[in-house]
């Protein structure tokens, strides 16, 4: 499987993360999205007329939407039964809203993309509040992840935009349930990081604790 990839893109990272968590190998092809805008070249537009990344090629199958790629890679991560599968779809749409708000704020603030930073941040803040409410309700029911008993592609789709929100000037400090959820995702076996999303250093034992445990 070939992933046409940009290291700073949250939507590309979703695919790398899903593949790592499910033990699937990807061949990464770096695309010079910024500053060269290589994803808008004729070659790439032929592959994906939407002019976006990521693009996954698996034999004859070419997918240019991160949600579709997650569905392709995420067997066993799609929710159990009809109701959960439908809820997962709702979160995939929510991830698009996160991308259009918090993700946009990051592009404006970090890469100098034109646009209103305060408008993008306002939209991002509304999404984060909505997510905080949903996750705190889930915690009251005893759940850790967005849908069902375990992680699904819903978590993978939303996680990058949330973790990178501070890159766009949005703090996660007011959202305790979101912070616990991001810890749960980062603690999944096989987790990989990207610039701006660190591994869970804080869960490794401190040196003196290690001695005591021995």
């Amino acid at each position: 499987m070939i992933l046409h990839d940009w290291v700073l893109s949250p939507n590309c990272y979703k695919v790398r993360l899903m593949a790592a968590l499910s033990g699937q190998d990807l061949t990464l092809r770096a695309v010079n999205l910024y500053p060269e805008r290589e994803h808008l070249s004729d070659e790439y537009l032929a592959l994906n007329p939407a002019g976006t990344l990521p693009i996954l090629e698996d034999g004859d199958l070419v997918l240019g939407e991160s949600a579709a790629i997650l569905a392709w890679l995420g067997e066993g991560w799609l929710g159990q039964g009809k109701a959960e599968a439908a809820r997962v779809q709702a979160w995939l749409s929510f991830a698009e809203r996160l991308n259009a708000t918090a993700g946009r704020a990051r592009n404006i603030d970090m890469l100098g993309v034109p646009g209103s930073l305060s408008e993008a941040q306002k939209g991002g803040r509304a999404c984060l509040r909505e997510l905080e409410l949903a996750l705190s309700d889930r915690r009251m029911e005893g759940g850790t992840f967005l849908v069902g008993d375990g992680p699904t592609i819903a978590d993978i789709a939303c996680f990058p935009h949330v973790m990178l929100a501070p890159d766009g000037g949005l703090t996660l400090a007011p959202y305790p349930s979101i912070r616990l959820w991001t810890r749960a995702v980062r603690a999944l076996p096989g987790f990989v990081e990207m610039p701006g999303i660190h591994r869970l250093h804080e869960l490794s034992p401190e040196p003196e604790m290690e001695t005591e445990l021995r």
């Binding site: 500053p35 060269e36 890159d167 610039p195």
Partner: protein, 276 residues
Amino acid sequence: MKDQWYPVAMLSELGRDPVETILMDAPVRVWRDADGTACAATPEGRKLPVTEAYHHLWTSPGAPDRPLFDIPEARQPDRRFVPCGRVRVACSPLRAVENFLDIAHFPFVHTDILGAEPHTEVARYKAEVREDDDEVWATKVEFYQPQAAKSASGGVTTQYMYRVPAPTSSVLYKTSPPRPGEWDVIAIFVQPVTETRCDVWPWMALFDETTPQADLVAFQQMIFVQDRSILENQVPALLPLDPGLETPTRADMTSIAYRRWLKSHGYTYGAQLVAA
């Protein structure tokens, strides 16, 4: 600092329509004329001096009394040149340069790439202000790196040299993995937007005949964005030039030399002089 050269755009992005950017709190418009001349001017129409160098357009809000610093390696034809675009960071332009000069953070911020625990010790090196060139230099720097460059396979001890030829630009030289006798060159050109905001334009001149350009750009963007969240959380936001607020260690000798050099020249845009 008004009379220094600063990067304000990548030459490849320069078009006929003027684009506005901010340099030291003031708007600047940049474009390329019909006859191909690169231009910079204030919104009121005052023309600013320009220099085209290292794939970037440089200008100054003042009147520079000497040309932009030289990077001789930029004239070596067998190098690969890699401009990496802009990363905007909410930090003092001087803090961005100081972070670039620091090695000690590699294992913690660029984990498993430019450093890894337990290889955290920064061995003694030499830092000095070279009076003849009026530049800060650090030499004989060595550090263990799991993946020193895109072209590296496996861990190596990498040699470094650092050079600060202008208050908001720095050039580093590091062992080239494909050509161990030569130095790869990596620079950051920092555009001071305000005293607590800057646009960083990384640029590289490498010996690497095999790695695709997109991978080289992505590698440097990955490294730089790993630094960004750290830089934005440094306190105080302005770089302290007087001792008392921050306690340096032996690993910070380059930073100490840089801060002293800034202070001796009165380069204080983005700095604070008395410990708060």
